[in-house]
Symmetry: D2
Subunit: 339 residues, 4 copies
C-alpha cells in the first residue's frame, strides 16, 4: 500500500527502504531536499513541501511521522490543516503517551485518525526489522496492517515459544496492537524503562569485574579510607571483553544488549572513547513517573535512571553537603582524588 | 577423556549425558544407587562408593563435583584422603569463590589440583550446552579442555560478534579460563548478580504494564490515599503475555530471560501458580558484598536483591515501625488491605 | 489581627486555639456545627455558613483553609464568589504546589490574593508551634506576619545556630517566606520527602538490630536457602527500645523522629499494634517527580517511597514473575512461608 | 575511679578531659609526648611508654583504647603481654564488631576482660557528652559504670520520653550495656548506617531545592536532552540556608544533623569549600553486609552508601559502558559537560 513518510533521518529513511523492499509505495518528505533526493534515487516518490506530499497521496491518506518528539505538535499543526476526514496520521517516534491521548482527541475532532507506534530496533532496524507497539482504533490499525507487517522482523528471528501451537498470533510477528491511543507509546515507554534497568545491570556487573584486582593496589592507611579486610580475595585481572563474549552462548544472561556489549568491549576494553556522561531521553523518566502514579515500586528502574543523572554530575551539590556535614560533626576533611 | 562425576542430580546427570554424547568416558557416583543405575543404563560406568569411584579412574584422576555448595567441604574431606598427588578435583557447583581460594590451598598442600567452574545453563544445559567460567592453574585447565569443550554450547549458538575475524578465540566457544583459583566462581557470581538485575527489570516493567488500568478502579477518597491526578491516563488493559512475545523479535530488550518470560506468561498470564516469595541462593548477596569491598556502587543489583528479601516479608518490622512513627507524629491510622 | 479559619479538624482547630492564645480574633467555620461550637466555647467567633463567615470578617478579609487537599478547589469555588478584591485566601493544607500556581492565577484574575503555607508539626503543633513555609506576594505575606508569628514555635525551641549573630532573621522564628506562589508547598513537599528518607533510615536500621539473633535460629539446609556463613556473629538479642532511647542523648542520629520512635518502641517493642501497611499521602511521590523533572538523583528518597508501596503488596505481581522465571530456567520451586 | 587512656587524639584527649571534670584519675598515654604533656598540664597523670602506663595503674587495671581501628590489634598485642589476669581493656574506637568477638576470646584465654564501646558525639563530645553503646560481660561493664556515667551526656540533654515514669532506666542516661562482646560496636555500626541514610535524605532534598529554578535555564533542544515539560513549575530561587534554619523549630525533620546543616549552609550556602568527594569509613559497609547476612532489605542505607562511592568516581567504568551500549544500538553520541 501507499505511505507518506515525514522525516527522513536515520530512522525514517531506513523505514522507507524497508517498506520498499516489500514493494510498498512510499512518498518521502523532509525539509532537507538532499534527504528526499537520496530516497528518490532508491525508488521512492519525493516531496519537498507538505502540499506536494499531501497531493501525491491517495485518499484515505496514511502519513507516518518520524520526527523528534519535541516538534511533533508543530508538524501536526502544519499537516492536519491540509488533510481531509478519513486520513490517518501515525506517530512512530518517541512521543510521550500522554501527548498521544490529547492528539488523538484533537485529530478526531477534525475527522482524522491518529495512531501511535513505539518502534524499537535502533540503527539495526533496516535489516533486523522494527519491533512495533501500536495504539489506536482497531479498524484503522487493521487497515495499516501491511505496513506494520513489512516493517516488522521476520517470525524466524526468534524460535517459537514452546507451548505455542497452531496458527501464529500477531505478537509472534514482531508487532502488536496494544490498545487504544497512547497504548503503543505506553508499552514502548516501559520497554525503554526496562532497557535502562538491563543496561545498568550489565554495567554494574562489569564494573565489579573490572575492579576485581583492588587487592593489589596500595591503599591509603588513613581514617578517611576503609581498609580492605581481605586483599587476597581481590587479586584477579579479568578480561571483561572475553567474559562478555563467553556469556553470549548458553548462559542465563545472554541477550541482544550483551551481544552489543561484547562488541563494544571487544574493540575497546577500556572504553577510552567514552567519558561516561550518560544521556537519558525521557522514556526512563516517564516510566518511573507512571509507576509512581500507579503506586508500583520500581527500585531497579529508578536506580538505573538516577545513575545516569549522577553520571552527569547532578549529584554534586548533594555530595558537597554530605562532606560539609561530615566536617561539621567529625572534623573530617575531604580526601582529594588519587593522582 | 575420562571423568568421574560426583553428584547425579539434575545438573550432574545431564552433564554426564552431554559428555557421553561426545564419547567421553564417565564414571558416575552418587549416594543414591538409583541415580547411578539410571546413568549406567545410558552407558556410564557406575560407582556406589568413593573407593569404587577412585579405583575406576585412571591416574591422574579428574573428578567433577556437582553437589550443593553446603556439602562441598564434607565431600572434599572424604574424597581427598583417597586421592594421589596429581589428581584433579573440579567444583562445578555454586561455591563461593572465597572458599575456592582456601580449598585450592588445602588441596595444593596434598599435591592435588583444584579447579573451580561456574556453570550457567540451568535445566536446558543438556541440549543448549553449559556456559563455563573457569578458575585454576593454566596447565591443569588446559589438560581438561576436552571436557569443557564437550560441555560447552556450540559456537553456532550465537552469531559471531562483528569485528571478530580470523581464528576463533576460546571465549567464543562458550567456556573461558578466567584466571587463577576462584576466578571462575567470581565471574559466575557476578553473572548471577547481573541475572538478578535483569530479572528485576523485566518484573518491575511488567508490573507497570499490569497496573496500566488503575485509572478505572474506584479510589478511596481519604487522607491516607494519594489521589490519582489523571485517571484518564491509566485506562489500558494490556496483554502482558503478548507484549513479552512481541519484544522477542527486533527489540532492544530481547534476551533469553525474555524468551522464558514470554513462555511463562503465555501459559499463565496471571501467574496464579506462584505466591511471589522469591528465594535467593547466595550469589546475589556475594556479588553485593564484593562490590562493597571493592567500593563499587551497584544500586541496581542491590535493589534487585532486596526486592527478594522483601518478597519474603523480611521488611515487616521496618514497615511496622514506619506506621508507628506516622501514628506518633500525625495520628495516622493504618489502612487495612482492600478486600 | 482577625482571621477566618475554614476547616476545624485536628489541625485547623488547634491553630485557632494557638492563635487565640496570642489574642488574635478567629472566626471559625466548619460544616460540622459541633466543631464550631467547641471553639466558640473557647472564645472563637463561630460561623456555620460561608456567608456568615464572610460577613463576620473585616476587609480586607484573611481566610485560612485547613481542609483535605482533595476538596480545596471545591471550597475555593464556593468561597471566592463571596469575596471582594483585596481579600486574602491562605491554603495551609498539603496541596500540590502545582495547584497553588494555578489557583493563584485564578484568584488574581478576580483581584484576590492567594498564599500557600506548608505547615509541619502534626498533632503536637498546638503546644510546640507550627513550622511554616510560605509562598506568595511579599506585601501580602508581610501583612499576615502577626498570624504566622503566633502560629510559629518560639525561637527558644532550638538553640541559636553558632555563627549567627545580631538581630534574628525571620527563619529563626520558625516561619519563612520562601518565594512566590507555590514556593511554600514546594518546600513543604521536599520537607516531607526528606521525612520519608529519615523514617526509612531508622526503620531499616532497627530491622537490622531486631534480626541480630538470626544466628540462633535453625536454618533450612536446602538449595533455596542461602546458608549463614557465620552464625556466631549473629547471636545478639538486642533491646531496640533501649537503643532508641540511648541514642536520644549525645548521638549523631538524635532527632525528633527518634524521640517519637523511642516512645513508640517504649510502649510496644514488638509493634504488635501495627500490620506494616504504610500509607503515603502524596508529598513523597511529588518530591520524586520534581527530582526527575529537575534531573536530580534521589535514590534514598525514592527507595523510601517504594518501600511504602511494597509494604502494601504492590510488588506482588513483579515477585510472582521472578518466581516464574526462576522456575523456568532452573526448575526452582517457591518455598512456602515459615510456619 | 582510675582509667588508663591509650591514644590522645581529638577523641581520646577530650574523653580524658571529660573524665577529669568528674574527678576520675586518668593516666594518659600516647606515642606523641606532646599530646601527653598537654593533658598532664590539665591534671592527668602522664605515661610515655606502655610499661610506665601499666605500672601507674592499680589492679585490676582498666585501659581505654582510642586509636584508629586499623592498629587496634597491634596495640593489643603490645599491651596484653604486659597485663595481668583480671585487667580490663576497653576498645572505644570504631572497630568492626566481628573483630571484637575474636579479640574478646583471645583476651579471655589470658584471663583478661575485653569491653567494646561504640561512642557517638564527634568533636562535640567534650561538652555534650558521649553516647555509649557497650558490649561485654555484665560484671565487668558494671564495674566500669562510673566511667561510662561520667562520659555520658546529662539526662537533661533530652526531655523524658512521654510514658516513662518512675526511676530512670540506664538507657536514659546516654549509655547502654547492649549485650555480650561485639554488641556495643554492632549497635554503633547500625547507628552509623542510619546516620548515612539520614544525611543522604537531607542532601538529596537540599539538592532538589537548589535546582528548583531549572525552568529558568535555557535548555538544549536536541535528541540527547529530555525537555522539561513544565518550566513554569521550576522558577524558584530558594534560600537553602534559611530553609534549613526554619526547619529546626517545630518541624518533623528537626534533628542534630539538621542543626549542623543549618550551620554549614549559613556560613557557606554554595558549599564552595567542598568538592563533593565523600569518604566512608567502614560502618556503612559493615551495616549493609550485616543486613545481607540477616536477609533484611536496607535499600535506603545502601543507596546512601553507594552515593558516596559514586561521589568518588567509582561508577565511571559502568557509566562508560552505558554510553558505549547507547552508541552501539542507537548511534547516540555523548554530550559534553555544559561549559
Amino acid at each position: 500500500m501507499q505511505l507518506g513518510m515525514i522525516g527522513l533521518g536515520r530512522m525514517g529513511a531506513n523505514m522507507v527502504r524497508r517498506l520498499m523492499r516489500s514493494k510498498h509505495e512510499c512518498v518521502a518528505f523532509d525539509t532537507h531536499p538532499d534527504a528526499v533526493q537520496a530516497l528518490v534515487k532508491e525508488g521512492a516518490v519525493g516531496a519537498t513541501t507538505l502540499d506536494e506530499l499531501v497531493k501525491k497521496l491517495a485518499k484515505p491518506r496514511a502519513l507516518w511521522l518520524m520526527v523528534p518528539a519535541a516538534i511533533v505538535d508543530r508538524v501536526l499543526a502544519d499537516l492536519t490543516s491540509r488533510l481531509e476526514p478519513g486520513d490517518i496520521v501515525i506517530d512512530g517516534g518517541n512521543s510521550y503517551y500522554v501527548d498521544d491521548i490529547r492528539r488523538a482527541k484533537e485529530l478526531s475532532a477534525k475527522g482524522l485518525h491518529y495512531v501511535d507506534v513505539g518502534t524499537s530496533g535502533g540503527v539495526f532496524g533496516l535489516d533486523r526489522g522494527y519491533c512495533q507497539m501500536i495504539g489506536g482504533e482497531p479498524a484503522v490499525v487493521k487497515h495499516l496492517d501491511p505496513i506494520f507487517a513489512a516493517l516488522a522482523p521476520p517470525i524466524e528471528s526468534a524460535p517459537r515459544t514452546p507451548g505455542k501451537e497452531g496458527p501464529t498470533r500477531p505478537a509472534e510477528h514482531g508487532y502488536l496492537h496494544c490498545g487504544p491511543n497512547g497504548a503503543g507509546h505506553f508499552v514502548k515507554m516501559v520497554h525503554n524503562g526496562i532497557e535502562y534497568g538491563i543496561m545498568a545491570a550489565y554495567a554494574e556487573g562489569m564494573n565489579i569485574l573490572k575492579h576485581a584486582n583492588v587487592g593489589r593496589r596500595e591503599h591509603a592507611a588513613d581514617a578517611e579510607t576503609t581498609p580492605l579486610r581481605s586483599p587476597e580475595h581481590y587479586q584477579y585481572d579479568l578480561n571483561v571483553a572475553d567474559i562478555a563474549e563467553v556469556w553470549r552462548r548458553g548462559s542465563v544472561v545472554s541477550s541482544w544488549l550483551l551481544d552489543l556489549t561484547a562488541q563494544a568491549l571487544g574493540s575497546d576494553p577500556d572504553l577510552a572513547h567514552f567519558a561516561g556522561r550518560v544521556s537519558d531521553s525521557g522514556e526512563g523518566r516517564w516510566t518511573v513517573t507512571a509507576a509512581i502514579d500507579e503506586g508500583v515500586p520500581v527500585p531497579v528502574l529508578t536506580a538505573a535512571l538516577f545513575e545516569r543523572f549522577s553520571s552527569r554530575g547532578e549529584d554534586e551539590y548533594a555530595n558537597r553537603l554530605l562532606s560539609a556535614m561530615r566536617h561539621a560533626f567529625g572534623g573530617h576533611q575531604e580526601k582529594p582524588a588519587a593522582q
